[in-house]
Subunit: 432 residues, 2 copies
């Protein structure tokens, strides 16, 4: 049997999973690769650190040049998080003639242009299916399996941490802080979960997907993005009462030939598949003009699900499929964006609003008047009787018909300035 | 831009969809193919028949040799249903040097060995993602995207016709006959729906998936298979009462290293994603040892969803990915089966039983005694009070804990022979 030598750079959670699959599933992975995959080197910072895995003698090294200077190693799995030194290491690998598999969405979201250009100049390839939605092979599905479709929209639950936190708040009536703590204890959230809970992680993944599916060139930091930090139990209760659940959704959607991009908490109907995606799962609903609605769900993170995506990429690379896809898709090339972003204020959506108001005559007339002035039509409305409230604050919940973000901005701004309104309105989109 | 000439053989529903995508989405499909795809010929039986589509002049022909004798046509989409002449035409195409995309599951389920062998001898490839689950790219996902996984189980709703009929019976409390008629009127069922409703269609797709995912070599006709013909509204009502819905599932599942294959109606929990798959949708739940549980859902048939899968295969073929996958997977090659079928009687499952019994003392003791003798443990039990019944038949519904098919066979055989039992028991598996 022919052999192919490969290397792993970075032996953290995912790297260990990849090594496990290659060592323990060798017969299986070799069959799919059509040859024996030899794990020749694993590069780490500290060779003496205790590891979850026993590697064959001579494999572990702390010298990157053991890989870059070995011409027999053609494919490298690079699993270093963050932007630097991940970027410089990837450049070194490409320049020494390696094809590279990565799971690093932040790196590609920041430096996709530079890295893909350099790879093209050098005749090398980069694969990154594990960078978006963990075990769900969404990059290959969008870039290859659904290639006959002009994609119309992608709605994704792309951050398992947020999904777990919201599920905890819903199921255990926990506060946001309690739910974050639980997520940290279970290993679903980092010690500093900022990039997850403020939506940045989902926005980075969305930027990659939008580039792949629509040819958009929007930097992730320019995507309108709201996280889950301001989520309060009261909104989960109202959503439930209205027949909805809350999900942090990443949205890319064509409207009149422009691309709407958005990350934020949305209300999804309780009986929809999206509502059923619990815990640390990710899910993607994609609408293509030929295929119609397709749906993918799976683990969005974790050692083995992510390793599953990495090793599939590695096999694609070894057999030669990656080089073809890399060449035809021309991702992050000089080509101009195929679609322009739709200014946020023009995008259409339904809304959930919660206002905290004084329980005084006239307040409802003022609020509905402000909405009506912007042409915002009310679909449903809840105001409960006030019991034993310490103050005179009353929540007032309104679900609207379709309107635009701009109209909602203007109406909310006016309403927030009203004397009888206690605190800034809570607003969330409703998934169609 | 480089060009590639292709041909379509068969211009029925799906063929028309494929031609539409190639002609109307040319800019899009050409980008994914990295070259201009020219629809050079479309072979039909009757050139004068009225068509849904306007083809460029000179494309339509009734002579297959316009394709086989044109060396510039390298890839052919063959969309002829049934086994013959589809088989001979595919052999002619392969022998004239063409790679072939097909959506014909029956042809591959019957003659996969012969066709794949011949293609290998001739250095040609066959692609067939559209043959299973229509628009869901499950063949590529199993054969490529999930290649790092040892697959543990596949549970699929693979027949949209059956799913639609069952949904109709549930939602509109229709009889089986009424639901079939409705399906025929809406174009979801053929005039003769036998192959759909008796489970053969699902069994053929399952045989293909099981070969791909597990290396099994079981002929579709050897897969234990029950259709939906014996489904009665009373069982849908009981399932509902118990918190379940009914679905025709195709199952391939490893148990102790042997592969269980089975097609039949199963009870699925109302709150599970499988229960939410309505109408003409298909869905597949796959468990891999690395990725865990992944879920795919999409349209299982229809002109454009199926054309979506066919055109993706065609693009894979044109760019060269198909040749690689075809070569590495070695489907239907000389290799022995990688897994042996698990004899049905040994497979483990939970059961729903409905008995129609005389409302006499002792009947329950007899039935539970027969179950207990086979070690079958009862999880729940329903017997409603009898009102205004014309006869003394009473339905008695039992849900069991895990048992084996063999134990259930023996118990049911004994129970069916009891004098106080009116008609053969209804039995269905319960999805874990």
């Amino acid at each position: 049997m022919e052999t192919t030598k490969i290397a792993i750079v970075g032996l953290g959670t995912v790297g260990t999973g990849v090594a496990q699959l290659l060592l323990e599933h060798a017969e299986h992975t070799n069959r799919y690769a059509g040859r024996a995959i030899i794990l020749e080197k694993v590069v780490v910072r500290d060779c003496n650190k205790a590891r979850d895995i026993k590697l064959p003698d001579g494999v572990l090294t702390d010298r990157l040049e053991d890989v870059t200077k070995d011409p027999e190693i053609r494919c490298v799995v690079q699993l270093i998080g963050g932007v630097e030194p991940a970027r410089s290491i990837m450049l070194q690998l490409l320049e020494s003639g390696k094809d590279v598999v990565t799971a690093n969405k932040a790196l590609l979201a920041e430096h996709g242009d530079e890295l893909f250009d350099r790879a093209r100049e050098l005749g090398r390839s980069i694969a990154f299916d594990a960078a978006v939605a963990g075990g769900i092979p969404i990059v290959t599905n969008v870039g290859q399996c659904l290639s006959a479709n002009r994609i119309e929209s992608i709605h994704g639950i792309l951050n398992g941490t947020c999904n777990f936190i919201i599920s905890q708040m819903e199921e255990h009536e926990a506060s946001y802080a309690q739910a974050v703590e639980e997520a940290q204890q279970r290993g679903y959230a980092e010690a500093d979960p900022t990039m997850d809970v403020n939506g940045s992680d989902a926005a980075q993944k969305l930027a990659l997907l939008a580039h792949l599916a629509f040819g958009s060139r929007v930097h992730w930091s320019e995507i309108p993005c709201e996280g889950i930090e301001s989520l309060r139990p009261i909104d989960l209760q109202y959503a439930k009462e209205l027949g909805y659940r809350l999900k942090l959704l990443a949205v890319a959607r064509l409207e009149d030939g422009e691309l709407e991009l958005h990350v934020g908490v949305q209300l999804v109907r309780r009986d929809s598949p999206m509502a059923g995606v619990g815990g640390a799962y990710n899910a993607i609903r994609l609408i293509g003009d030929a295929v119609g609605r397709v749906w993918f769900q799976g683990m969005g993170a974790g050692r083995m699900p992510t390793a599953s995506a990495v090793v599939a990429d590695l096999i694609d690379m070894i057999v030669g499929r990656t080089a073809i896809t890399f060449q035809t898709l021309q991702l992050w090339s000089e080509k101009p964006a195929r679609v322009l972003p739709r200014p946020s204020f023009r995008t259409a959506t339904r809304y959930y609003f919660r206002f905290m108001v004084k329980d005084h005559p006239g307040v409802l007339a003022e609020i509905t008047g402000a909405l009506s002035k912007e042409g915002i039509s009310i679909a449903s409305f809840i105001q409960h009787e006030r019991h034993e409230s310490k103050d005179d604050k009353v929540p007032l919940v309104i679900m609207t018909h379709h309107t635009t973000v701009g109209a909602a901005d203007r109406a909310i701004e006016k309403i927030n300035r009203l004397q009888m309104v206690h605190e800034p309105a809570m607003r969330m989109r409703i998934l169609d």
